[in-house]
């Protein structure tokens, strides 16, 4: 009985937990329930992913209504991997959040904080799992609205401005998406993704579909912060509470990019959406993102902002992989979503630990990595993964993408990918060097709170994952390959 409902439980659990958490009287109880939910979800996510390994899919009809009338959930390798990423990051970030958030947010708001957090997770998982495009929009709004609230809780006043900026961009993106969905509905008369996919070839209103397609993607690319629609991202990542930066950097843009992949390849299909022109546009946008993001990252003086620009660059890699339209490229892009997710979460957590004392992440105020060699090791592991150092997850995804570029004869793309790595050395070394050397006049060592055990545990887990999945990719890359083959209709 429960087995049949595992998929939907992933979404329902945090939705039910949210109000309970808000009502619980103490912050420890709230956190306890949150982490309990997260643990259950992680267990469920691993289980469903094991079920769909090898190319099968799970279908779940909500309330027993058969699609295309009812809402259906469909789980295959692609969203199985994304669900695992969201659940894993959610679990680790909550582990980290307790000590980190209590230092940033007044105690009475903590219950609400964890409740909102659960809503974000509900939204993200809903987006990932649903097979209905309007339902997807609903979850998009759930996650976005609660995200604005989370960002606004940042310690600095700029957090409010960042939240407002994101609200504007996010609403714009969501409206575009909704208009797109509406036009598609007008042209085909269905909202179920699979049904939509089968109707698209036969529709007699191609112009309506094309405009729908255009609106849909503009909206999604805005949500995914794909260059040049990235403007909201740096502020959000910089000013959010530490744990929220880690959560968002690893999940929200990744999930939006997942929707792009799903809609492009599954719903609209390669023939309809990816004419060579559009694919080339993706390659171009991805390459520009890699170069622009890396160059801007080098200029930053704030650690979290530097990491944010690096995120823009790293998203570019996934876009490039998508634009290549080969199994190697696409699996590289998908595995990069996962790999970069864990890498960037680890780095933002590290930044959060550094900020505990001085309350800022300005590079000039950060020092004393030498007193905490483990923290230095964390930054080194994460940074090397950003560069694409062998033995880390970053190497795997860049290896796949570079190989895909060579296979397709896109030599300029190989150059861009390598250039991205070279620029990454520069910005990674910028913070490693700051942390490593003892400054001439050390900044006043404030007696702020020291990182708690949960924070160390969370970072340690992610670092281990960075190295482990860099050496043993049977699981991550295997799932990504399955997904890529399914999406492109290639049979092994």
């Amino acid at each position: 009985m429960i087995e049949n409902h595992m998929t939907i439980m992933l979404v329902v659990l945090p939705m039910l937990a949210a109000p309970l958490i808000a009502l619980l009287p103490s912050k420890n109880l709230s956190w306890g329930l949150a982490i309990l939910t997260a643990t259950l979800q992680l267990y469920l996510a691993v289980n469903v992913l094991l079920d769909v390994q090898g190319g099968t899919a799970i279908h779940y009809e909500l309330g027993g209504w058969a699609p295309p009338w009812g809402i259906s959930y469909r789980l295959d390798s692609l969203n199985g991997l994304m669900a695992l990423l969201v659940c894993l990051i959610n679990f680790v970030c909550l582990l980290y959040a307790k000590a980190s958030i209590e230092a940033e947010i007044p105690g009475r708001k903590l219950g609400l904080f964890y409740a909102t957090w659960q809503l974000v997770v509900t939204g993200l998982l809903g987006i990932v799992l649903t097979g209905d495009i309007f339902n997807l929009f609903v979850f998009l709004e759930i996650s976005s609205l609660s995200t604005y609230a989370l960002i606004g809780m940042g310690r600095q006043r700029q957090a409010l401005m960042a939240a407002f900026q994101y609200l504007l961009s996010g609403t714009l993106g969501a409206s575009f998406f909704l208009i797109g969905v509406g036009l598609c509905y007008a042209a085909t008369g269905t909202l179920n993704m699979q049904d939509l996919a089968s109707q698209i070839g036969q529709s007699d209103q191609p112009m309506t579909l094309y405009s729908g397609f255009a609106f849909l993607f503009t909206g999604l690319l805005l949500k995914a912060a794909i260059y040049p629609l990235h403007a909201w991202l740096p502020n959000v990542y910089q000013f959010s509470p530490q744990a929220v930066s880690a959560l968002l950097s690893a999940t929200s843009t990744k999930v939006a990019l997942y929707v792009v992949v799903r809609c492009l390849l599954d719903v609209f299909g390669v023939e309809f959406s990816l004419s060579r022109l559009f694919a080339d546009l993706l390659l171009l946008a991805g390459s520009l993102a890699i170069l622009f993001g890396s160059l801007r990252a080098i200029q930053q003086t704030d650690l979290k902002r530097l990491l944010a620009y690096s995120s823009i660059a790293q998203l570019g890699y996934s876009v490039v992989g998508l634009g290549l339209l080969t199994v190697t490229g696409l699996s590289g892009a998908l595995v990069h979503l996962f790999n970069h997710g864990i890498t960037k979460a680890a780095l933002f957590m590290g930044a959060g630990m550094l900020a505990l004392g001085p309350g800022t992440t300005l590079l000039t105020r950060l020092a004393g990595g030498t007193h905490r060699p483990w923290l230095l090791l964390l930054f080194l592991t994460g940074g090397l993964s950003l560069i694409g150092f062998p033995g880390t997850v970053g190497f795997i995804s860049k290896w796949m993408l570079a190989l895909a570029a060579i296979e397709q004869g896109h030599w300029w793309l190989l150059v861009v990918i390598l250039l991205g790595s070279l620029l990454a050395i520069l910005y990674v070394w910028k913070f490693i060097e700051t942390l490593y050397f003892v400054p001439q006049n050390p900044p006043e060592t404030s007696t702020g709170p020291v990182p708690g055990r949960g924070m160390w545990l969370a970072c340690g887990l992610l670092c281990l994952a960075i190295v482990y999945f860099g050496l043993d990719t049977r699981f991550t890359l295997g799932v990504a390959m399955d997904a890529a083959r399914q999406l492109l209709g290639v049979h092994p």
Partner: protein, 488 residues
Amino acid sequence: MSWLMWIMLTPLLTMALVWLLERWPNLREAASLAGGLSLFMLCLWGWRHELHLSNETLILAEPLPGLTLSLALEPLGLMFALMASSLWLVTTCYAIGYMRAHHEKQQTRFYSCFALAIASLMGLILAADLLTLFLFYELLTLSTYPLVTHSGDEQAKASGRRYLGLLMGTSISLLLPAILLVWYLSGSVSFVAGGLLADRLSPFWTGMLYLMFLLGIGKAALMPLHAWLPAAMVAPTPVSALLHAVAVVKAGVFSILKISLFIFGPVQLQQALVQEWLIWFPALTILLASFVAISKDNLKERLAYSTISQLSYIVLGVMLANQLGMLGASLHILMHGFAKISLFFAAGAILVTTHKTRVSELAGMGRRMPFTFVVFTLGSLSIIGLPLFGGMWSKWYLALGSIEARHWLLLAILMVSSLLNIYYLLIIPVQAFFSQSSQRSTVREAPWPCLLGMAAPSAICLLLFWMPEPFIRLIQSGLNLAFANTGG
């Protein structure tokens, strides 16, 4: 557990011990020495039991299907490992005297990074495929970064940037895509006797790919990518000695040697493009670096440029791609290692006792520090390649190799370079012994661990002249393996 595993673990365990024993400096240094000794013993044990002929391969991990991280021992690697482990022991001994006399800070970090660098070096030596080689190549860069920037001042930071930027930059922008191309062309990156790519590439593309490897391996310090080596001389002298005369730079040329033998294969390298054109990279580096060395007044910098020039001997021998040239190149890894480390130790001894870094200040010092300058003389003579010193044999075979390849101009370059060596190296002890010093000072010899560390490599230089056969036989067995499959 296999021998290969122990070779990797010994330096790592040493590093852990050094870290744990931070509070007891004597025990900490004892642990370092013990680590060096056990690694050397392990290598000797492996030699005695002829593990290099056993074909055992140890697979550590398999990140992608077919793309493995694997270790194996072959004769050339064993030769390098023997040299590196013996010199680790000697250098540790020297470093104890040097670091204490110099009152250096952060000595625990120093010894633990040292051990980590040796572990990376062992991984590079044992690498059985390109990916493993690349991984340990990069780890070697990273683990030596704290050593290069040991003093932590602005100059060290700037040098560290140059060191890391050049080495990592070239390896990521050229070495990594070269490896990718090998993988794309052959579906494998393993080292194969006779060459993985043999008969798969046209001469032109062979040359291009070889150029990518040649420039991608910045550690070989071919001009124009040599600038990191003089910059790295800001490191404490034991680091310069072991890492920048032996381990790091030799890791670079050793990588080129292995890639030439086991990825391209000697037959493919004898094609026109490599032999006619690319060979001028090392040939010109030999000459130019010698000329720059003459102009340098800073002793360590002069030695650095001498190293750059000598490294290109090895690359040149490899690119001759015949048995004699390869033999000369491999022997030169060994001979130059022992000779150059003597020179660096002598330079460090001078620095630690007199705080003098310039060649021009050393006139007349020979009478106050006779032992140090005798060591310097012995090292110089071996580098020049005179009889009675091991350095003769490698030059002998390199010259024979260039004769066999009918490269008369290269032969001339080798000879001219020896003359230049005499000029810029031998002049230092000559001035020290035979000219008068203007200043009076009460300088004595360096602390005894330093002297002990200096004596060993220069004695080995002498010894190697009389008994080079064991090593020649070892190298021959390795080369036979590589040349056998090609009929060349």
